[in-house]
């Protein structure tokens, strides 16, 4: 029966055109639309080290290249390194002729047993920190290059501005003159290239000595044709790329890696800029300050029973509907016509969000491309006519088993059962012949009591949510 709880069986059509299970969808209370990871704006909320669970301000993270100063990963297997303490005999500081026991620390991997001693790193006298950072051997050179190109670019910018002032017309010529190799390039204007080749008289800017090409490069090591290969002494691609700047080739050059920090993300609706999800600040908390999951706002549809489905045979299939809101809800099923829906959607966007509560249309929204999802059903469905009432979620009522059927005048053909804020509904599904699985689509139309409306606006709005249900496998 486990498959009935597979969330993927029932999927909602997000406003961006992607089908997702309700657990992966958000509901923007301001736009009154479904949003999902594909169509919201993601933001870095807080940064923290997953090992010591310390928060790190973003300025510090930038400075430390997103790595924790105190925690390390194993350069061999990427497991977290632990600090080991041991004592050694060392000459006493007071009297060098005597030795005293001193505590020293080194880093060790509990997973692959790599230690900082393996690669000849000196033990530390303090428990945390103290490990020297690796240098980029070209640091100076690169700094000079950067400054060189900066001043060139600066100069070029000034030149360009000056030219724009003096003679507007000749600017094109001056460019091509300067880099006049038109015959080489042929068809294309040269001007866009200039920033890559600011020539000019290098005299003012150059402390820079351009690289000198050499006649010969290092060949193969002399013993490569005779020496046995010791695989464990050569690093793998993963180990090399773990420190991209150095890419050590020998295991003996591996260096402890500062642990990379993680982010908690917050999500924002691109249309109204409201937060849809915002995590709590504390790194060890898995809770949210804001979490507008569709789960709390949209009636949840679930498959209840697996029916035997055959091509062309009408079969009754039971689904359940659950009202997660604290307000009663009127609900109806409408046929889902993908084309019509998409057209309506586009029109809605053009009209500036139609019925949404987003009144400040000052924000210019950058839309993502409309997603083309396969929305063709593989089974026909006879939807129940008329309206259903879903009672509000009432956490106290959860436990009394009183059957409320009588008070709703439900059609027994349609409503199989009622329990608190849930209702069981029968749908008649006829799989198309040839279909492997029966997929049906319908639109859930319901009255949503919105929670952000001002007193002047109506408290309830009608929402239409397209739903696709994978009813199950079909046989001949």
């Amino acid at each position: 029966m486990a498959h009935l709880f597979q969330v993927d069986r029932v999927r909602l059509l997000c406003s961006c055109g992607v089908l997702k299970p309700i657990t992966a969808i958000y509901f923007c209370r301001h736009c009154l639309k479904l949003r999902c990871g594909n169509c919201v704006s993601h933001e870095v909320d807080t940064l923290f080290c997953p090992n010591c669970l310390e928060n790190m301000p973003s300025t510090e993270a930038r400075l430390k290249k997103n790595r924790c100063a105190n925690c390390f990963d194993c350069p061999s297997c990427c497991h977290t390194l632990s600090t080991r303490a041991t004592s050694i005999q060392a000459p006493s500081p007071e009297d060098p002729s005597k030795t005293v026991a001193r505590k020293v620390y080194y880093l060790a991997c509990t997973s692959c047993r790599w230690t900082s001693r393996d690669v000849g790193l000196k033990d530390q006298t303090v428990a945390t920190g103290g490990w020297a950072e690796q240098d980029n051997e070209h640091y100076k050179e690169l700094q000079t290059l950067l400054e060189h190109y900066r001043s060139l670019a600066q100069r070029e910018k000034l030149e360009k501005e000056r030219k724009r002032f003096s003679h507007r017309k000749s600017s094109y010529f001056s460019m091509t003159d300067k880099y006049s190799l038109p015959s080489l390039i042929g068809r294309k204007s040269l001007s866009p290239l200039s920033p890559y080749s600011p020539k000019g008289d290098g005299s003012q800017t150059s402390e820079l000595t351009p690289s000198e090409a050499v006649e010969e490069v290092e060949g193969l090591p002399a013993d490569i044709f005779t020496e046995e290969v010791n695989l464990s002494s050569i690093t793998s691609m993963e180990q090399r790329m773990a420190s991209p700047e150095w890419q050590p080739e020998k295991s003996s050059d591996l260096y402890p890696l500062h642990k990379h920090i993680l982010v908690k993300r917050s999500l924002r609706c691109r249309h109204c800029e409201h937060n849809l999800s915002k995590p709590e600040y504390n790194p060890s908390s898995v809770k949210f300050k804001i979490q507008l999951g569709a789960f709390y706002h949209v009636p949840e549809v679930r498959m209840v029973q697996q029916a035997d489905l055959k091509w062309g045979v009408e079969t009754s299939v039971q689904i359940s509907l659950c009202n997660p809101t604290p307000h009663d809800m009127t609900l109806a099923f409408l046929p889902f016509v993908p084309e019509a829906h998409i057209a309506a959607q586009q029109k809605g966007e053009e009209l500036g969000e139609g019925g949404s509560l987003n009144t400040s249309s000052l924000v210019r929204v950058v839309d993502i491309p409309v997603e083309k999802t396969d929305l063709t059903p593989t089974a026909d469905v006879a939807l129940p006519q008329g309206q259903l009432i879903l009672t509000a979620r009432d956490d106290t009522a959860e436990y009394d088993d009183q059957d409320a059927n009588s008070s709703f005048n439900d059609d027994p053909q349609v409503v199989a059962w009622r329990r608190a804020n849930k209702v069981g509904v029968n749908l008649l599904v006829t799989p198309q012949s040839g279909a492997k699985r029966a997929i049906v689509g319908f639109v859930l139309r319901y009255e949503y009591t919105n929670t952000v409306a001002t007193a002047t606006e109506s408290r309830t709005v009608t929402l239409n949510i397209p739903v696709m249900v994978d009813v199950g496998p079909v046989s001949e």
Partner: protein, 403 residues
């Protein structure tokens, strides 16, 4: 010290908005910040497929929508797992091959501008910016990556587009050659010590295993040995040089693989073989020189810049130089290209991120502002306009070719 380095000290760039620099490769993507000395991350260009959940290469798809989805997911990972900054309203430099199909770059731009709302994008031609890491502006730049090798001569900062060369020789070609050789000559050793031909136990080796074997055991042999091995193929009386030692390599399970020394040496020969259609790494360099104006050739030949991950292979650049010199002296070439001096540069970076580093230098200057494509301009008709594509014609030519 490098842990705390950066632009902040210079104060030229508002540190809050440090430009992000990407070099998307078919095998590995390099990402980091402008003005820094190396990429923050070099990541396999792979994502989980939205439909199947399998790990798939980002760029190996013909379907536009699929490529867009993969890029969306991949770039998400880059920003929120590695760079940890907000993409929105931040500048981006994309280091890209001049030969990238315009389709791919339009989709990439769409993802950056529409999904991530970046402020602006600069498309920096990889061969050009690679020269910035050397402080020079003339060079024969060869990028040997995964999918292919591309070569563009640059003279006084201007790419000589009419002399571009591209061949599908790179990491991938080495992997398939290695796979062929191993299936043929490799021995699988079971738990009981019994040896079997590898091809009788498995049909293929996973790409990652091939790469690992390549990186840890293979190398590029010398020209001298290679020609001896080559002659031996046709004339068995010529004694082949003794092979390097074989390697016992652990496969999954309790199986081991004996990699014969010959395989370690021969797997990379595919980059230099000339018998198929007479094209190889050394020949395209000379072919390209031949297409360059006469008065540029000497300078170009004395400024070879070999970049891309495959250039890190042990012995590769040494062999390449030897081959070029021999070839240039050969009858066929010496008549047309009278050049006998070849020199090579040593960039201040690992071969696979030289182009990225060039982009990081460019991105750290105000030169980017001059060629930047702002979001608003892209959004007008969702296309990267021609003016920031300095090889428009070239690309059309190539798109036609590949179509």
């Amino acid at each position: 010290m490098p842990l705390y380095e950066g632009l902040s000290g210079i104060g030229l760039i508002n540190e809050k908005n440090t430009t992000v620099v990407f070099d998307f490769g078919t095998a590995y993507t390099k990402a980091g910040f402008a003005g820094e000395n190396g990429p923050r991350v070099i990541l396999r260009s792979e994502v989980k497929c939205r439909e199947t959940g399998n790990t798939v290469p980002v760029f190996e798809t013909q379907d536009k929508e699929e490529l867009r989805h993969r890029l969306v997911d991949f770039i998400h990972k880059l920003y929120f797992k590695h760079l940890l900054v907000n993409p929105k309203d931040r500048r981006v430099v994309v280091v890209e091959n001049l030969l990238t199909p315009s389709n791919t770059r339009n989709i990439l731009a769409k993802v950056l501008f529409r999904h991530y709302e970046v402020l602006s994008v600069v498309f920096a031609p990889s061969h050009l910016v690679a020269l910035m890491t050397l402080g020079i502006n003339t060079g024969m730049v060869m990028d040997i990556g995964y999918q292919e090798v591309t070569l563009i001569p640059v003279f006084e900062g201007v790419p000589i587009l009419s002399a571009w060369q591209a061949l599908s020789l790179g990491g991938k070609a080495v992997h398939s050659s290695l796979s062929e050789l191993l299936l043929d000559r490799g021995l699988s050793v079971g738990e009981d010590g019994k040896e079997q031909r590898l091809s009788s136990v498995m049909e293929t080796l996973p790409e990652k295993v091939l790469e690992d074997i390549k990186v840890r055991t293979c190398f590029v042999s010398t020209l001298e040995r290679s020609s001896k091995l080559h002659s031996n193929k046709y004339d068995r009386s010529i004694e082949p040089p003794p092979p390097p030692p074989s390697v016992l390599y652990p496969l999954s399970g309790s199986r081991n693989l004996t990699i014969p020394g010959t395989v370690r040496e021969l797997a990379t020969e595919v980059l230099f073989e000339q018998d198929r259609d007479a094209l190889s790494l050394p020949t395209i360099i000379l072919d390209s020189l031949q297409k360059c104006p006469i008065d540029t050739r000497r300078m170009l030949a004395e400024n070879l810049v070999i970049i891309g991950g495959t250039a890190s292979m042990l012995g590769l650049r040494h062999r390449l130089l030897a081959e070029i010199r021999t070839l240039a002296a050969s009858e066929a070439f010496s008549k047309v290209v009278k050049i006998n001096s070849f020199k090579i540069h040593n960039p201040p970076a690992k071969a696979n991120y030289v182009a990225w580093l060039g982009g990081a230098i460019l991105g750290g200057t105000e030169a980017v502002a001059l060629r930047t494509l702002p979001r608003d301009q892209f959004l007008v008709n969702d296309r990267v306009p021609d003016w920031c594509d300095l090889s428009c014609n070239l690309k059309e030519e190539r798109d036609e070719k590949s179509a």
